[in-house]
């Protein structure tokens, strides 16, 4: 792509019937940039991700992604009838062997579960397999839709460190959808808030990593206000 951007979205509009979910949305993501996307439930975050993943082409406007995309969802969505290592490498072209899967699983510290059935994994383990499966595709853009949403708080903290390390190592651009403001402030270079179908506000985070929760305390209040937490706590 001439622009050198990994993601370039211009005037993206998505309607379900006569309900407009995304409205003339613009979004740029640079190569290797870590972007967190916040927004109220139903604001269209997953919809945007689906468009970027190529799962929804019934839209107006343009959404271009330079290079390979891969995705991890809130639920791991592993194939229960394929062993863990097969889940990691299936769908890769050209077809690769077990050694590649083992290498990817080692990065998420699950090499010894390579031959397990997905059913036998804990939630956090399954989510790590899902991460390994996304990363083994060497994506230029990694889409994460609330990947830690279903995990307990401790596991989530460990996953933050893991994702940060994997990101630094593989350097994909990342678009992380989350409900957790602190998670966004810990991990992202840039935090976006989606509202009324467009990017309503944007915060660039400069603090070096690894970060502490207190590092962007000023931004935290603003983001929470954008999300309507202060005056409309019950909304």
């Amino acid at each position: 792509m001439a622009s050198g951007l990994t993601v370039e979205v211009r005037g993206l509009t998505k309607k379900f019937g006569d309900r407009t979910v995304l409205h003339e949305l613009d979004l740029d993501i640079a190569p290797g940039e870590f972007v967190a996307l916040l927004g109220r439930s139903g604001s269209g975050k997953s919809t945007l991700l689906k468009v970027l993943a190529g799962l929804d082409t019934d839209v107006n406007g343009s959404a271009t992604v330079d290079g390979k995309v891969s995705v991890a969802f809130q639920q791991p969505r592993l194939l229960p009838w394929r062993r863990v290592w097969r889940n990691v490498v299936l769908g890769l072209h050209p077809v690769v062997g077990r050694d590649v899967a083992i290498k990817a699983l080692t990065e998420v510290r699950l090499a010894d579960h390579a031959d397990a059935w997905p059913r036998t994994l804990s939630g956090g383990e399954a989510q790590r397999v899902s991460l390994a499966r996304a990363l083994v595709r060497e994506p230029n853009l990694l889409l994460l839709d609330e990947p830690f949403g279903a995990l307990d708080a401790l596991t989530r903290l460990a996953m933050h460190r893991l994702v940060e390390a994997l990101w630094q190592q593989h350097e994909p651009a990342v678009l992380l959808v989350t409900h957790d403001v602190d998670e966004a402030l810990l991990l992202a270079d840039r935090v976006l808030v989606l509202d009324e179908g467009r990017i309503a506000s944007e915060y660039v985070l400069g603090h070096p990593r690894p970060r502490e929760l207190s590092d962007h305390i000023d931004v935290r209040a603003k983001v929470l206000a954008d999300l309507g937490v202060t005056e409309r706590a019950s909304a």
């Binding site: 799962l55 995705v71 969505r77 194939l79 769908g91």
Partner: protein, 274 residues
């Protein structure tokens, strides 16, 4: 009496699990479960000996056993067995091929769904055993009507289960694998078909039960060979012992095929057991 293979006993096969080396201690069948069946056989024997059950109504277990040995010795039983099993085998193969194929077509393609499903759903409501008179007119009284009856009985349960299995594939898995770059055929072989497999095996079990039932009914109507012929022929001569032998063989065949399906299930659905 029918070979009820649908709700077959779950214990019969505990002694023949596939990898015996992984199970150092084989589970012994619980002997207490044998008390009442043996008692019933003993009562049956006594009833026959005391004349309570005359032999033209029901022969004693001992006579039945002797008749079985005798029929096996002359080769009559073996021949009948081969003829009947062949009928079921061919009928099942044809019916299963049709059922699975139509199920896949209707499950996978939109037009397949529009064109295939309505007529199959309508035909399904026909009591297919009632088609025997038509089948005799169409196919005569040779092997064909019996095989056709088995094939018809087999096709429906398989069709319905394959179709439902494919239709019920988890859309989240389709979405995820699409986003991860699976090709169409990879989605078919790694997502759609495996997810339809549990249902398909349920269908397989049902259809095997129906297959034996169809055979028995088909062989009652007209047969010059096979187990049904053996039984009908015995009726003419009031040989209740031979009739019971025939029934026992039917039952054993039904149980055997059911055990095979359960073996296949255990291997194919290992991922569920964990």
């Amino acid at each position: 009496m029918s070979v009820s293979t649908l709700g077959a006993p779950a214990r019969a096969d505990s002694a023949q699990q596939p990898p015996p080396e992984r199970k150092p201690r084989r589970k012994l069948p619980d002997l207490r479960r044998w008390i009442s069946p043996l008692a019933i056989v003993a009562l049956w024997q006594i009833a026959c000996e005391t004349g309570l059950l005359p032999p033209d109504k029901l022969s004693s277990p001992w006579t039945v056993l002797q008749a079985g040995i005798e029929l096996a010795g002359t080769g009559e039983l073996g021949d009948a067995f081969v003829v009947s099993t062949t009928r079921v085998g061919i009928g099942f193969a044809i019916g299963a091929a049709i059922g699975v194929l139509l199920g896949i077509v209707a499950g996978l393609s939109r037009w397949g769904n529009y064109l295939v499903d309505p007529p199959v759903q309508m035909l399904r409501t026909l009591p297919f055993l009632g088609l025997i008179p038509l089948f005799i007119l169409w196919f005569g009284i040779g092997e064909e009507p019996k095989i056709a009856l088995v094939a018809l009985g087999v096709a429906f349960p398989l069709y319905l289960n394959v179709y439902a299995g494919i239709r019920n594939v988890d859309s989240h898995l389709i979405e995820a694998t699409t986003a991860l770059g699976y090709t169409r055929s990879e989605r078919l072989f790694h997502v759609v078909l495996p997810s339809a497999l549990p249902n398909t095996l349920v269908g397989l079990r049902q259809s095997l039960g129906v297959a034996w039932l169809s055979l028995i009914v088909g062989e009652q109507v007209n047969a010059s060979s096979g187990l049904g012929y053996l039984i009908n022929n015995a009726r003419e001569f009031l040989r209740t012992d031979v009739i019971v032998v025939g029934l026992v063989v039917y039952a054993a065949l039904g149980l055997a095929t059911d055990a095979i399906v359960r073996l296949v299930e255990r291997r194919a659905l290992r991922w569920r057991a964990a």
